[in-house]
């Protein structure tokens, strides 16, 4: 098991203590009627295996980004545990990502996981060149030899089908689709075990989207990492993923094989989603 979420919740605001029960799937609301706290993620359980590709769908505000951010430790969960890659404490007990010593936290983020954001300004530093952005990830994973860093940056720049002559150009000199490619090169340059993608192609031309999805798929096949892909677009989910989880009001309402969910959705909310989008 690469990743395990155990009853993970995120509440924004001061919680009355009953928020999780008072909101969610059945109550049709993610805002606690008692205390007005926002329950962004409500007791989610999930396992992701090596090499598995999981899609996350759900309407705007259902907690998809928050879920990814907690896994990537951009956000701290309010309750629950996230276990990663069998990390254990000195007594041999499973160690949650939230309880890692601070040095280890950045180690997991730099070596083991990468995130690709919808907004390239979140994923790339626009003050650094394309190559510098890729180098940042490689350096963060512990490499301090210039030639190795440069060669690996060039290697991944080639992988995203960009002419290597442009590696020292700055992000604003690239198109939106190219900026997403650079994010991909950066994310993969540390050879992570888990790639998190938050709407990686939203806002791009359909033809550009398709090429980027094909690229992601090809690189996943070649390098063999697990992925969690958040998307509004069931087409993207269908194209990329093996498994799909459906979120509503912060709750996971349906989880299964992507083909089955798209062809024969069980939860009424998923049925609505599939019928309207496909």
């Amino acid at each position: 098991m690469l990743l395990e979420l155990d009853d993970v919740s995120k509440v924004y605001g001061v919680s009355c203590g009953n928020c999780l029960e008072l909101t969610g799937d059945s109550s049709e609301c993610a805002i606690c009627p008692e205390c007005n706290a926002v329950v962004a993620v409500n007791r989610v359980n999930l396992s992701v295996e090596e090499n598995e590709i999981v899609g996350v769908v759900g309407e705007s505000g259902s907690g998809k980004s928050t879920l990814l951010q907690m896994i990537y430790q951009d956000q701290k969960a309010t309750s629950g545990e996230i276990y990663f890659n069998g990390l254990k404490d000195s007594n041999g007990n499973k160690l949650s990502l939230f309880n890692l010593p601070s040095g280890k936290t950045s180690w997991v983020r730099n070596h083991e996981m990468s995130m690709i954001y919808q907004n390239p300004h979140l994923g790339l530093n626009f003050n650094f060149s394309a190559g510098g952005n890729i180098a940042e990830k490689i350096i963060g994973s512990g490499e301090k030899r210039y030639q190795i860093i440069r060669d690996r940056a060039l290697h991944f720049f080639g992988k995203i089908e960009m002419p290597t002559s442009r590696i020292d150009d700055y992000p604003e000199a690239f198109s939106g689709g190219q900026q997403q490619r650079i994010q991909i090169a950066k994310a993969l340059s540390s050879s992570p075990r888990l790639l998190l993608l938050d709407e990686p192609t939203t806002g791009l031309d359909v033809s550009v989207q398709a090429k980027i999805l094909d690229l992601i798929k090809a690189l996943q096949y070649e390098m063999g990492f697990s992925m969690i892909v958040v998307s509004h677009d069931l087409g993207v989910i269908n194209h990329l993923t093996d498994l799909t989880l459906v979120m509503k009001n912060g709750c996971l309402v349906e989880y299964g094989l992507t083909d089955q969910i798209l062809e024969d959705p069980q939860h009424p909310y998923t049925q609505l989603l599939v019928s309207s989008k496909l």
């Binding site: 650094f128 190559g131 952005n133 210039y146 860093i149 440069r150």
Partner: protein, 281 residues
């Protein structure tokens, strides 16, 4: 009863104690930036008030003071600071590096090797090494706390990719005691190796930014560099000091109507070297 007598060291004892406490904390955490309550001085901020406050907080009647500005004891700033300190302490002053026990400096480390009986106080304009890559002070703190200097490394990467080497000529980032990375103040790259394992205590004071940091005696200090690249210091080729003939020192380039001239930046070193050469002749 009030007297017109100025307190020794200009500050009252409480103020000196506060600065010393910050200095002690800085010594305990080599390379870590410690805030202190920078005080108003009869010299404008940005003219060495950080170094001055550190010097005044630790100088005693037994000390002998040297002040240099870019290696020179005779520059207007150095003279002003030295005269001010002497006027409020009555300590002995000197230009001879080996005779000094407290040396306040701007932009140079003296050529003459320092000893464990000496304290070198640097005047610092910008104490935070991360400002060039991260303007957000909260993020800077986080980066220091997790010893994450990858953004500085990216700067090195970019310079190496585009220019073959780092373009940083002064304020070259150094890692102290295998931990924090700090700004060594605007000394040339030439002086960076002298910070390493130096027998003297090195204190850094930034007045405008209200910060103190330190390198304790005999501490490991390394420039940030890729393991497969050399740290290259200024090379003056076959140039030598026109005044004393020295070749193994940091030279100032002086542009005059008849062309470029080279002189020792460290004036005390130049004087002693000149005398030795003349005595030998």
């Amino acid at each position: 009863m009030t007297t017109n007598k100025v307190t020794f060291g200009f500050f009252d004892e409480d103020a000196k104690k506060e600065i010393r406490r910050a200095s002690l904390k800085a010594v305990a955490l080599p390379g870590y930036i410690v805030p202190f309550a920078s005080r108003e001085m009869p010299i404008a901020r940005g003219w060495g008030t950080g170094g001055l406050q550190v010097t005044l907080s630790l100088i005693t009647e037994e000390d002998t003071l040297k002040v240099i500005d870019q290696g020179c004891d005779g520059s207007v700033n150095a003279v002003n600071i030295r005269e001010f300190i002497v006027s409020v302490t009555g300590v002995k002053q000197t230009m001879a590096t080996p005779e000094a026990t407290v040396i306040q400096t701007r932009h140079r480390v003296p050529e003459y090797p320092l000893t464990s009986n000496q304290i070198l106080v640097y005047q610092v304009p910008i104490p935070e090494v991360l400002t060039i890559v991260e303007p957000d002070t909260a993020k800077q703190k986080e980066m220091h706390a997790s010893v994450d200097y990858s953004k500085l490394w990216v700067l090195l990467y970019e310079d190496t990719s585009q220019f073959g080497d780092s373009r940083i000529s002064s304020r070259y980032p150094v890692r102290v005691n295998d931990h924090f990375v700090m700004d060594p103040s605007p000394i040339p790259k030439y002086d960076i190796p002298k910070l390493n394992n130096n027998p003297s205590l090195q204190l850094f004071g930034a007045g405008r930014e209200k910060r103190i940091y330190a390198i304790p005696p005999y501490t490991k200090v390394e420039p940030l560099k890729f393991t497969d690249r050399e740290f290259i210091i200024e090379d003056f080729g076959d140039k030598c000091c026109e005044r004393c003939g020295a070749t193994d020192v940091y030279l100032d380039e002086v542009h005059q109507e008849d062309g470029v001239h080279f002189f020792c930046s460290d004036t005390y070193h130049c004087d002693t070297n000149k005398n030795e050469v003349e005595d030998a002749a």
